[in-house]
């Protein structure tokens, strides 16, 4: 958190959300232009977030302003981050690494159309804004092409997207760089592939189905919730994110209607509480999350209670083992505590932690992430200089 600049509170409401604590389920037959019913997860969801864009990376700003002179190392070893402007976790990392004299270089998907960028293929070097840098550690998160300000229906828009897709995927898997949460091993992780691994490591999981007919599915036989198999936020227009949040399944209303795409239908488990556990290297940081319904995290986040909590050793061992299995260095597990048992819901690779820290009034995860990145960079720098 930085110490300057107080603004008016009324510059905040870019969030136009459904503020109800328990979202009502509207009738399922609202037509859309295609003549099909509105997909279940889009019904009654009026959460829209206008993501701010513009350079919020401290190191990029001070270098562009010519306020700082780089060290004598040329090319300068650095951490390369592929993200988007509004990724405040990475914006904060930029300041934290600057405090330690570690150079960070940033490519944001929503600001990448006017970059002076050359990436060498025969050497692990990148020239950005006339500065030659040597990435030692690369972290890609929230570098989603859907936020690139182009129209994919035009030839120039489709061209820019396709070029960046190929190059960003290559940057995310180069064998001559080290990675945080390497895409090579984490790219396949989604809510569905995670469940079987979690069960194999001894964690309980809810009964789950994937279906285009949610009204006909009732895994576990009782109440169920419907979840997206993909992202929680869709960005059909660059910078405008629409929410797709879990909701109770009303089988009477869903009927036999077919969805245009499969969704997750999952057994509803009455839980004593929920846990979010951050894994940072070998360190675990736990928060207890108390909310009234599954969507409240997004539609009414201010009403959610977040409290720091210890992670019991038995659970910690399983989460560390799973993180190692998935090659995750920084990630967040979501779990239910139901009947005294820990039930795995999902692991978030591109996890946010600053919202949880803000609610809990701590900086434990940020501190751990900054420490871990600096230490890993130090190891890689030592190895590089020892060559």
């Amino acid at each position: 958190m930085i110490g300057a600049g107080s603004g008016r509170r009324d510059d905040l409401p870019l969030l136009l959300g459904n503020r109800q604590s328990a979202p009502a389920i509207p009738p399922p037959s609202t037509p859309v232009a295609s003549g099909r019913p509105t997909p279940l997860l889009l019904q009654g969801q009026d959460y829209v977030f206008h993501a701010p864009s513009g350079c919020l990376d401290f190191q990029e700003r001070i270098h562009r302003l010519g306020m700082v002179i780089d060290t004598d190392d040329d090319p300068n070893p650095c951490v390369l981050v592929l993200a988007r402007s509004a990724d405040m976790e990475m914006n904060e990392l930029s300041i934290a690494l600057a405090e330690q004299g570690i150079r960070m270089m940033r490519i944001d998907a929503d600001r990448c159309l006017d970059l002076a960028l050359t990436i060498y293929t025969d050497a692990p070097l990148v020239e950005l804004d006339r500065r030659l840098l040597r990435p030692l550690l690369v972290w890609r998160r929230h570098f989603e092409l859907s936020c690139m300000p182009v129209d994919p229906r035009t030839i120039t828009g489709a061209y820019a997207l396709d070029q960046w897709r190929t190059v960003s995927d290559w940057l995310s898997e180069r064998p001559d760089w080290a990675y945080v949460n390497p895409a090579r091993t984490t790219g396949h992780l989604n809510r569905l592939t995670q469940l079987s691994s979690a069960a194999a490591f001894g964690l309980a999981t809810p009964r789950t189905a994937v279906t285009t007919q949610p009204g006909r599915s009732r895994p576990g036989g009782g109440a169920c919730i419907v979840k997206t198999a993909g992202r929680h936020l869709l960005e059909p227009r660059p910078g405008v994110q629409h929410g797709l949040f879990p909701r109770p399944l009303d089988t009477a209303r869903a009927g036999d209607a077919r969805e245009p795409a499969p969704v997750i239908v999952q057994q509803y488990l009455a839980a004593e509480t929920e846990l979010r556990v951050f894994v940072v290297g070998d360190e675990l940081i736990g928060y207890q999350v108390d909310k009234f319904d599954p969507a409240q995290l997004w539609v009414d986040p201010d009403a959610v209670e977040v409290t720091p909590t210890e992670v019991p050793t038995k659970l910690a061992d399983k989460l560390r083992a799973l993180a190692r299995h998935w090659h995750l260095q920084v990630a967040a597990f979501d779990l239910l505590v139901a009947g005294g048992e820990y039930v795995f819901l999902e692991v978030n690779v591109n996890c946010d932690w600053r919202w949880f820290e803000h609610r809990a009034q701590t900086t434990d995860v940020s501190d751990a992430v900054h420490r871990w990145v600096a230490a890993r960079f130090g190891e890689l720098l030592g190895a590089h200089r020892g060559r």
């Binding site: 930085i2 110490g3 300057a4 509170r9 190191q59 405090e99 967040a332 919202w355």
Partner: protein, 40 residues
């Protein structure tokens, strides 16, 4: 000025340069927005 010295200015709020002060204001605004919003 070194990167560390500039970062220390931003952390403390004791900013001498106008352009850096502008950045700090933008940053604080983005931070307030992000606090109101859960992502993943």
């Amino acid at each position: 000025m070194s990167m560390q010295e500039l970062a220390a200015q931003v952390r403390s709020g004791q900013i001498e340069d106008e352009a850096l002060a502008d950045f700090a204001v933008e940053y604080a605004r983005a931070e307030r927005i992000s606090r109101s919003r859960k992502d993943d």
